[in-house]
């Protein structure tokens, strides 16, 4: 008995195959939580036909009961980042009811007063986390522990199971206190995800939050060296030693306080931009909404129906009316961002408004505490299959207008063919545009509703009508829409013969070539990032993905943030999305903005460059190399860096020939401590005069 699992399945060419597998993983669908109906009943909210929370297309976070919001998978199956955006959005929804007191209620955690560690010899506590078994099943933590015990200034070493567990953190904080430890080394997971947690721990222990270094034993050791336990253990010891070496030299961080400007710049006047502007305005902040085009609405202007039946044009009209009548919102049309400086809470931007007629523009300076990027995306129009050459070849967005405004064209058509996944030749990266399958299915149904006799063919590679949208696919099939799959190596062939479109496609299941006469050929073209993204990314110093969309701070955990504080992201500027998804994210952004601006003081950790005036030769190197034009030569004739503007990249300190500029947390001595630790070298604390020197 091998205990293999035998799987019998039918291959594409119809052959029945049987194959043996060691493991079979089933991707099962998600269903509402068992007690969802119960809860819904008690809250008085309605559920949809699948038992998930019922929502409306254009109000995706609102339950049927005013004042009750929904987020996450209770409203339908979805991805982590979406649930997080929705969570923030639902919070923003709730905030609307609390706007007069927004922010003042947020419970500031109570911390003991901070103990000064200046003048103290480093006393390092090393806590080695097994992360359940995630780390310990690869790395021999006992060896790490005994190695750590021999490192200089290490006063205490302990192995813990889950350092992220609140109780464990409390215990660690207690231990720090009890033993008078003044530096913390966590041999655990990635600082990217957990540093702030351990910083908080230090504050609980009455220490400055900066006195921690993390040895990334999980993400950068155990998880990636599964098959080399001995080498991984060796590396684990090194990483811990490197962390200890740097921790010994860490200094308390100063926090800079800014009184945030209570206003927001929203870039993009589509559905996303407008709804985030509204949500932000409802929180009590002023909004300047800039739109490149001459009118508001963006892509939504060209959307005439939704699969779910809601009327986008009606919604749009309402939205524009609300935005225009809101006295906290200033709308600027024909306007683009040309310059933006400053930092979270205190931005200063210049926008240019095209003056009609003369081709010139006027510039306006705007002060704002936060920025929202909601610049959308565009349907591409590649010159494929005759698009742009023959008016019988149109895009899915064109079809929206034809159905809504020229239904006679539909009614007179005998046959309409749609081709999915049409990507421009010059599109470097292949990606799924997510909305086009549903759009095709929706429009196919509309065609069938208008003209049941018209044949509709959808040539597709892969139909992705995810979530509840699957019902429309079923509906379309029921109405007789024919779906024909094609593959990348056998793309449909379109010819114009005697004024008629002839589409030839090879049906992989039948293995036969089908020739379809077509009165209208509809292409589902890929949704492209706006061409202005590159310029805007450079003005705002923001990263773009390889595809050219804006890149959020974290793929899963921070879907509406950029790494740069104070700048937020929503809608199709991020990647192609449905309207409801855009609106959820827009609401999420409003929550992020409120979190930043509702406080009287926004605090920023001073991971910034500082100049040692006694060493500065005023050589201007920093002035020349800073990508953000921050350093300047001050009245005393030496370089100066405004900590509120410094982005903390360290370019100036990397280049300064006098070593007069140091970047907090990346002092040379601190960085070099890590490489020296590799060779078992640890500087004597007294020898590093002021650490940065």
């Amino acid at each position: 008995m091998t205990k293999d699992v035998l799987v019998r399945y039918q291959s594409e060419d119809g052959e029945i195959k049987t194959e043996a597998f060691d493991i079979v993983a089933l991707s099962t669908g998600s269903e509402p939580a068992a007690k969802a109906a119960d809860l819904a009943g008690r809250l008085g909210i309605e559920l949809n036909e699948w038992g998930f929370c019922k929502t409306e297309k254009f109000n995706p976070l609102q339950t049927t009961m005013p004042g009750i919001f929904v987020c996450g998978t209770f409203a339908g199956p979805k991805e982590i980042s979406e649930t997080l955006a929705e969570a923030a959005g639902a919070a923003a929804g709730a905030l609307q009811f609390l706007s007069p007191v927004a922010g003042s209620l947020s419970p500031a955690p109570e911390y003991p007063p901070e103990r000064s560690v200046s003048g103290e010899k480093p006393k390092v506590g090393v806590f080695v986390c097994s992360c359940g078994e995630e780390i310990s099943k690869v790395v021999d933590l006992d060896q790490v522990v005994s190695h750590a015990q021999r490192l200089p200034d290490v006063a205490y070493v302990e192995k813990v199971a889950y350092a992220c567990d609140p109780d464990t953190r409390k215990q660690i904080a207690g231990k720090m206190n009890e033993l008078g430890l003044n530096r913390l080394v966590m041999a655990a997971c990635s600082p990217r995800t957990h540093e702030s947690m351990f910083q908080e721990l230090l504050r609980q222990a009455g220490l400055n939050s900066n006195l921690v270094d993390i040895a990334n034993l999980r993400d950068q050791c155990a998880w990636v060296h599964v098959d080399e336990p001995e080498m991984a253990t060796l590396k684990g010891k090194d990483l811990t030693a490197m962390a200890v070496a740097r921790a010994r030299l860490l200094e308390p961080i100063e926090t800079y306080v800014v009184e945030p400007k209570k206003s927001v710049l929203v870039i993009g006047g589509g559905a996303t931009g407008m709804s985030s502007a509204l949500a932000i305005a409802q929180e009590g902040f002023g909004v300047t909404l800039i739109e490149r085009e001459a009118e508001l609405g963006g892509n939504l202007r060209r959307l005439y129906s939704t699969a779910e039946g809601a009327d986008p044009q009606q919604f749009l009209k309402e939205l524009i009316r609300e935005v225009e009548s809101n006295d906290r919102i200033t709308v600027m049309l024909n306007t683009e961002l040309v310059k933006s400086t400053g930092s979270a809470g205190d931005f200063r931007s210049t926008v240019a408004t095209m003056v009609a007629g003369n081709g010139g523009s006027t510039e306006t300076e705007i002060e704002h505490g936060a920025t929202v990027v909601a610049t959308g995306a565009v349907e591409s129009r590649p010159g494929k299959y005759g698009l742009g050459q023959d008016d019988k070849v149109i895009t899915q967005q064109d079809l929206e207008a034809v159905i809504a405004q020229h239904s006679e064209r539909i009614k007179s058509a005998n046959s309409i063919v749609m081709i999915q996944c049409v990507q421009p030749e010059d599109q470097a990266e292949a990606y799924c545009s997510r909305v086009c399958c549903t759009a095709a299915v929706k429009n196919a149904i509309r065609i069938k509703e208008l003209s049941p006799r018209t044949d509709v063919y959808v040539l597709y590679k892969d139909m992705m009508t995810y979530g509840f949208r699957e019902q429309y696919y079923t509906e379309a099939r029921r109405r007789g829409v024919v779906f024909v799959r094609y593959s990348d190596d056998r793309q449909p062939d379109v010819r114009l013969e005697a004024g008629k479109l002839r589409v030839v496609v090879e049906d992989p299941i039948l293995g036969e070539r089908m020739a379809l006469q077509s009165d209208l050929l509809v292409l589902s073209t890929s949704i492209r990032p706006a061409e202005t993204n590159t310029g805007l990314a450079s003005v705002l110093s923001l990263p773009l993905s390889r595809e050219g969309f804006f890149l959020e701070a974290h793929l899963k955990m921070r879907p509406t943030d950029f790494v740069a504080p104070g700048i937020f992201l929503a809608g199709m500027a991020h990647y192609p999305k449905f309207v409801d998804e855009c609106l959820s994210q827009a609401a999420g952004v409003a929550a992020g903005v409120a979190g930043l601006l509702s406080k009287d003081q926004a605090k920023f950790r001073g991971e910034v460059a500082t100049v040692d005036a006694t060493k500065c030769a005023a050589c201007l190197t920093c002035v020349r190399v800073c990508p953000f034009d921050v350093p300047f030569i001050n009245a005393e004739g030496v370089a100066e860096v405004d900590p509120k503007k410094c982005q903390g990249c360290g370019t100036c300190s990397g280049e300064c020939p006098a070593k007069a500029i140091r970047l907090f947390n990346y002092y040379d001595a601190q960085v070099l401590a890590k490489t020296k630790a590799l060779a078992g070298q640890f500087v004597k604390i007294g020898e590093v005069a002021a650490i940065g020197e």
Binding site: S190, P191, R192, T193, N216, R218, D219, Q220, C221, A222, W223, V224, H225, V226, D227, E228, M231, A232, L234, K235, D238, L239, M242, S538, S541, L542, P543, L544, S545, R546, L551, L555, V563, A564, E607, V625, P627, F628, Q647, G648, C649, G650, T651, S653, G654, E655, L663, N665, Y666, D668, V671, L672, K674, T675, K676, L678, A679, Q681
Partner: protein, 151 residues
């Protein structure tokens, strides 16, 4: 793993130090595990806020302290959070390469890779390539001299 077999019989395991930008390469390295990727355990990352912070001294110090190979891992050109970090880093490598060649350590022990924060595969390729190179080149001549001196 394919590298396993190549691990040298005399027990030489190269030490590879990577200076990684926190926005891209450090994140790419973090994401390798969850994406099901593995790379040689010889690589130790030192996090930088940006490759613009890179100092030639860091590279020299890594070699002086026993690294057999060093690589810089930064953002893609035009996609740097701080605009031109990788461009600066590349300029600084010009000097570092010159020094390594003059010293006889060899600039081929120093590499530069660029990736976005999500491209763990690129990070893994970089880690493998530099580790393989360090294996092929053998221990850094500095380490050879040192061990010879100790014997």
């Amino acid at each position: 793993m394919e590298n396993e077999a190549e691990k040298s019989p005399n027990g030489y395991e190269p030490k590879v130090v990577a200076f990684a930008c926190q926005y891209c390469a450090y994140s790419a390295a973090d994401l390798a595990g969850p994406t099901g990727l593995q790379y040689p355990a010889n690589v130790r990352l030192v996090k930088l806020p940006c490759t613009g912070k890179l100092d030639v001294l860091y590279i020299l110090d890594a070699f002086e302290n026993g690294a057999d190979a060093v690589f810089i891992a930064g953002c893609l050109d035009g996609n740097c959070h701080h605009v031109e970090g990788p461009l600066r880093a590349k300029r600084r490598l010009v000097l570092a390469n010159k020094i390594l060649n003059e010293l006889g350590i060899g600039a081929d022990r120093l590499g530069m890779y660029q990736m976005s924060g999500g491209e763990s595969i690129r990070f893994v390729e970089a880690a493998r390539e530099m580790t393989d190179r360090a294996r092929q080149l053998g221990p850094s001549p500095l380490n050879q001299r040192k061990s010879a001196a100790n014997e």
